[in-house]
């Protein structure tokens, strides 16, 4: 049974550009959350999606947006990239239980 799948694994973007990260949840999971993990820090909650709606949002600017599709997969979009957006972006999925994390997408903004 595949776990949480994230793509791409790594990418490099230039300041001001836009990026889209993708997540396929674990089979049977209907809730997806996104986290940002800066180097040497714990993950920080960005937002959570359930039934294609944003259910909760952390302290992140509107440049961060997301979407959940009918098959429960999800996208994270970041506009107007800043150097400080460089981090590991983690997707986690759940269904009435504990959260399973993907291996993340490492974003470098130059």
């Amino acid at each position: 049974d595949a776990g949480v799948t994230q793509s791409p694994t790594h990418l490099i973007k230039t300041r001001g550009q836009q990026v889209t990260l993708r997540c396929s949840p674990k089979s049977g999971h209907d809730t997806v959350s996104w986290y940002q993990q800066a180097l040497g820090q714990g993950p920080q909650f960005i937002f959570q999606y359930y039934e294609e709606e944003e259910r909760q949002r952390g302290n992140f600017p509107d440049r961060f947006s997301g979407h959940q599709f009918p098959n429960y997969s999800s996208e994270l979009n970041v506009n107007a990239l800043l150097l400080g957006d460089s981090a590991l972006y983690l997707c986690a999925s759940s269904y009435l239980g504990t959260w399973t994390f993907g291996s993340g997408t490492r974003l470098t903004v130059v």
């Binding site: 959350s33 986690a92 759940s94 994390f101 993340g104």
Partner: protein, 114 residues
């Protein structure tokens, strides 16, 4: 002040040692407590999940929660080199772990040397 405080270490111990990892928190609304292990270039992996105050044991791992002191611990017995990783405490408010955000500590880097 951060809601969850965790000593980042690094912590280096010899194989076979007992390891103690700790977190304190300030938000009394936290009800569910977790410990995750994160290997380099990987996502966090759930090790332990507890709700009530007290101890919970799973193999070489014991999780301890003291809600009155807002303090949680993870003990690793007979530590192995394969336990070398970053350990993250995480907690969430009511509604079960499926709902709401997880608030993480900074993570403690652990190295177990042979």
């Amino acid at each position: 002040q951060k809601e969850v405080e965790q000593d980042p270490g690094p912590l280096s111990v010899p194989e076979g040692a007992i390891v103690s990892l700790n977190c304190t928190y300030s938000n009394s609304a936290f009800q569910y407590f977790m410990w995750y292990r994160q290997y380099s270039r990987k996502g966090p992996e759930l090790l332990m999940y507890t709700y009530s105050s007290g101890n919970k044991e799973d193999g070489r791992f014991t999780a301890q929660v003291d809600k009155s002191s807002k303090y949680i611990s993870l003990f690793i017995r007979d530590s192995q080199p394969s336990d070398s990783a970053t350990y993250l405490c995480a907690m969430t408010q009511g509604g079960g772990t499926s709902y709401g955000k997880l608030t993480f500590g900074q993570g403690t880097i652990l190295t177990v040397h042979p």
